[in-house]
Symmetry: C2
Subunit: 246 residues, 2 copies
């Protein structure tokens, strides 16, 4: 087992892997030390690529109700497993490879899932700001599709989602407070579980890496985020660097 290379489906960009959900699994695969190979998929090709690989859809489109195929996704030739959804993949990897470092150690699976579900209610306001930046991150082959489908998912265009005028400060403060809530949970700890990295760190870390890519290291936005809560977020990104390779 685990000798055969896992096929990992991810979204490309000129800066490499950038999508916060796919990044969770990239970090997870590297953390577990599992051999993998990336298949880079542009947004318009996701459905056909996953269908061809036998990977089932994960959700439905809110407007049409049709099956929605999403990344991250993997095919593991060692077990014949083909699946999508970052949480499902993380659970699978721990089950299939329990001797490699665990993503959800010490029987924390249910707590990790609860954490993952609690995060959007904390840092959800980030999306209003970041989606328009991500239109420049994705490759030209994906941009039109990305814009159109985000509008479908969020109910308005990426331009209309961006806070304007006085609400910029208010909404950006909500992002800071959302991260502050998580900082409060973590106290002085390096990772969510103290000295040991786990899936929860990859969830937060992936949102941070995506933000750094979306705005650029020298932007005011990234400088803001990197400085919040005693610089803990730039430290977390640094601590996860060993597991971020394209």
């Amino acid at each position: 087992m685990a000798d055969k290379t896992i096929i990992f489906y991810d979204f490309p960009s000129k800066n490499g892997s950038w999508n916060a959900f796919a990044l969770r699994i990239r970090l997870a695969l590297n953390y577990k030390g599992l051999p993998f190979e990336t298949v880079w998929v542009e947004y318009p090709d996701v459905e056909a690529t996953l269908k061809a690989a036998g990977i089932p859809p994960t959700t439905k489109w809110p407007d049409s109700g049709k099956p929605r195929y999403t990344l991250p996704a993997i095919v593991d030739p060692s077990t014949g497993t083909a699946l999508a959804d970052s949480l499902a993949i993380a659970e699978y990897l721990d089950k299939a490879y329990p001797d490699k470092p665990l993503l959800m150690p010490s029987n924390t699976r249910a707590l990790q899932v609860a954490f993952e579900e609690a995060v959007p209610s904390s840092i959800g306001p980030l999306f209003q700001f970041i989606l328009i930046k991500l239109c420049d991150v994705v490759n030209p082959a994906s941009e039109e599709y990305f814009r159109r489908t985000r509008a479908s998912l969020f109910g308005k265009s990426v331009e209309d989602l961006v806070p304007k005028g006085e609400s910029v400060k208010v909404e950006w403060k909500k992002v800071e407070d959302g991260f502050g809530k998580i900082a409060g949970w973590m106290k002085e700890d390096k990772f969510i579980m103290g000295d040991t990295a786990s899936f929860a760190d990859f969830v937060i870390g992936a949102f941070l890496i995506m933000s750094k890519i979306a705005w650029g290291e020298d932007s005011q936005e990234w400088k803001d985020i990197a400085g919040w809560h005693d610089g803990r977020w730039s430290k977390l990104v640094k601590n996860l660097e060993p597991y971020y390779s394209n």
Copy 2:
């Protein structure tokens, strides 16, 4: 350490301890096997009792902005600690008594806190139904105060909070779905962390014990809850019974 009896401030009723937040700590103290003695406090006496014991307030009243004193609260003569708030108390007990069974084992403190904060968004709809029943659970000395302050906290009277007509089924289904979400996190596990009980179980368990007391064991409401998700909630209450003593 831990030889002196901890003073535990809890709300009385003819059925004993019933408050979901205080119950968490009752379960926790029994689980850790720490000697404690209950001081039963009626709602109108909470502020004076806690002030006299040197226990600080935990929050503010939404209408007046004045400090709000809440139970559960403890005074631990072994360490001179006096504090309120179930989460703060749980963290304190693990720190002060690390050799007793841990409420947040395996460095899960941050995950447990995230879990605790995620729970209201799951089973929040329960409160619309249960508050009016709790007016009959509290002793007569507390009822007027309980009604008046719940109205202040929730923005409407306990009678107006209760779903009516067609929304009864809809809102009760939301309660079921909220518990269903947690059941989904737990899968087939006995406790949130598998075979080991932890603070997260006391959070859920306390809401369940409160529901059983509020409606009574023979009510349709409790029969509903006890039957949801393959009977796992009545099993959880049964599994926590050793730690529920008045």
